[in-house]
């Protein structure tokens, strides 16, 4: 019973953040935000970023900031779209090409990190610039679109099925494989992990290699759902991953109440609700960015200080009870 009530409490704590965000925008928008169609749209928009967050989280946990993830996704999508445009290929070859390109590009990124032996963020920035340039060269136009059969995987229920498969796959890898254990050991302390016999270099490479598969599938989902891919400019591929990183941090904050993967999903869902909610408020474009920053801060403060607030409240409660008892 105690275990069950603790579980229910944890579920409540995990769902509290999205519920609060939902209710807040529902009220502020006068009911405009929060329709079922809107939530279904948010769910679809969350799928690809969540996979990108999964791809990045093992590196981030181990202290490696892989800023090239967005560029991998863009280049893989761009490559697939271009092949469709030039050779008019079908759905299956398109899917295989995009995922395959993502795997190759992500693995190359890992190889460069291993060979160059410079901090991961430096490699990531260099790789990001190279991949963005390649995307520019590969692009047909300012935006490259696909349509017809090739967008099938972006519709319900195919996108959900693909996401579910990848979710389960990452769950198994992260929680039940040797690689997962090694990642978590390196996340706690690289030195101790190394001393205990873990090959940290191999683990780092495997992080990139496994991530590349998720980036490839994220690229496939992203272009299938959106139907188009923009030519990256001005390091715009990093825009893709910043929200995904926020999703990871929300996931880490919620990890004490739920599995990290579920927390990451919730984090990305909340980020998407935030942007949709701000649009539904009818704010001017300039105010949207300000409001977005403010809300993000509030969400992060709430997420990271929720336990402190709850501890403070329970402390005050205990003190009040003690004082009451003394007086009695």
């Amino acid at each position: 019973m105690t275990a069950l009530s603790a579980k229910i409490k944890n579920i409540f704590k995990v769902l509290l953040l999205p519920i609060v965000v939902y209710v807040m925008f529902f009220i502020l928008s006068g009911g405009k935000f929060g329709k079922s169609s809107s939530l279904l749209m948010n769910l679809k928009q969350t799928l690809a970023p969540t996979l990108i967050s999964f791809a990045m989280c093992s590196n981030i946990l181990c202290g490696r900031m892989d800023l090239s993830a967005g560029a991998v996704v863009m280049l893989a999508s761009m490559f697939g779209a271009k092949v469709v445009y030039v050779y008019n290929i079908g759905l299956i070859p398109f899917a295989l090409i995009v995922v395959g390109a993502g795997v190759v590009l992500g693995t190359l990124s890992g190889i460069m990190y291993m060979v160059l032996r410079v901090p991961a963020i430096v490699t990531a920035l260099g790789v990001c610039m190279i991949y963005e340039t390649l995307s520019n060269l590969t692009s047909i136009s300012w935006v490259t679109a696909i349509k017809g059969e090739t967008t099938t995987l972006g519709r319900y229920p195919y996108c959900l099925i693909i996401f579910a498969i990848m979710f389960v796959l990452f769950y198994i890898i992260f929680n039940y494989t040797k690689l997962g254990y090694n990642i978590r050991a390196c996340a706690s302390s690289q030195q101790i992990a190394k001393s205990s016999g873990i090959n940290t270099k191999k683990t780092a490479f495997m992080c990139y290699a496994v991530s590349s598969l998720f980036l490839g599938v994220a690229a496939l989902l992203r272009i299938s759902i959106q139907g188009s891919i923009d030519t990256p400019m001005y390091m715009s591929s990093t825009n893709i991953i910043f929200n995904c990183m926020l999703g990871i941090y929300v996931g880490l904050a919620l990890e004490q109440y739920c599995n990290l993967l579920i927390g990451i999903f919730i984090g990305n869902f909340v980020m998407n609700m935030l942007t949709t909610g701000l649009l539904s408020l009818g704010l001017s474009a300039s105010l949207q960015n300000t409001a977005s920053g403010v809300f993000l801060l509030i969400i992060m403060i709430f997420t990271y200080n929720y336990q402190r607030v709850m501890d403070y409240i329970s402390d005050r409660k205990e003190r009040y009870l003690l004082i009451k008892q003394k007086n009695l």
């Binding site: 928008s29 809107s38 136009s141 935006v143 679109a145 349509k147 959106q226 942007t275 474009a285």
Partner: protein, 408 residues
Amino acid sequence: MKRKIISVLLILVMVLSLAGCGNKSSDKGTETNNTSNTDKTENTNTSDNSSDTKDQIWGGKTGETSGTENAEFTIGVVIHTTTDFLCSKLKAYSDYIGKAFNVKFNYYIIENFADETYLAAIENLCAQGVDGVITTNFSGTAVLQGLKICEDNGVYLGIGWSQVDERIKDQVYASKYFVGGSYESDYKAGYDIITSLIDAGCTNIAAIGYEPGITCHDRRWEGMMAAFEDHPEVKKAGEYRGLEFTKAVEDFLASDDTIDGIAITLLGIEYTQEPIKSAGREGQIKIAFCDFSENCQEGLDSGFITSAVGGQYVDIAFPFIFMYNTLLGTPLSEEKVEVPVNFITCKTGEEFSNYMKYLHNDGVYAWTVDELKQVIKKYNPDATADDLLKMGADYSIDDVMARHANQQ
């Protein structure tokens, strides 16, 4: 020992690359070496692909130069891409012009629209020994700095797709190295795309714009907002400025099922088709946007697109004409001129079809070489800047058809 050898090799590579770069030639017409690593030099593609389209798409044999190889004059062009619908035609037009007038165009592809990027591009092109530089979308007070770089190198500067800022106009015009420029009325374009949606019966319109910072998009946005103000009977469903257009369309459609129009400052079909389909609202929403793409025909035929505004590839011609006249020692006018050029507006499939047939398809251009010669003093001593102003004011599909229909 190994590290020392590698270090020495790296130093040698750096020194040699510095020595190879920056051959500044002060003689006009001298062939220069394109050794800069930042400039994309010609690609040699040994692909067996026989299709010209595929070669062009994969960047096989086109490279980043156009015109005549061993030319009398070399002009640098600063632009963000040469592969999209608009800029590939601009480059093709420069190739056509360059071959006719013995000019080589060196394209410098910029990765963003930041002032520093433009200034670096101008410096690089000047270091390559170009005779002139034509910039696109270069605006704001940084134009003065760019002009200073050109002055220091004895290189002329022309501006396309942008108007010189009022605050610095006098200083820019006073420089003998500024030759002139051309610009479109982006404000009017933004205004017109909203009014076209209103005329098509839309009453609840979402406004989507590129993120702030690029003058042409900022002006289009201002035009769009002005149109909303002038039409209070029409509801603005919401506004978004940023980079995630598709997501914005998805969010608008999810939050408001009465939206019947979407206006975008940059392209349209590519960002809206899939979200509209996903929302199950095909046929219920119309769009209008700036900048043509290859996907416009279908949308205009079906009425999905109420208005598409574009055709501004011709902007390369105007600063080129000013510059070429100046390089030949016969400037078109004493006073500096910036030519306002019409946009092409297509509201029907037939109009876009005519645009493609007479202005955009391979081998057709708004003005032929013979027509351009009329505004070059070497060929027409009576040519004046007023002729160019008239060209810009007359530019339209009908104008081109009237001049070229017999040749088709």
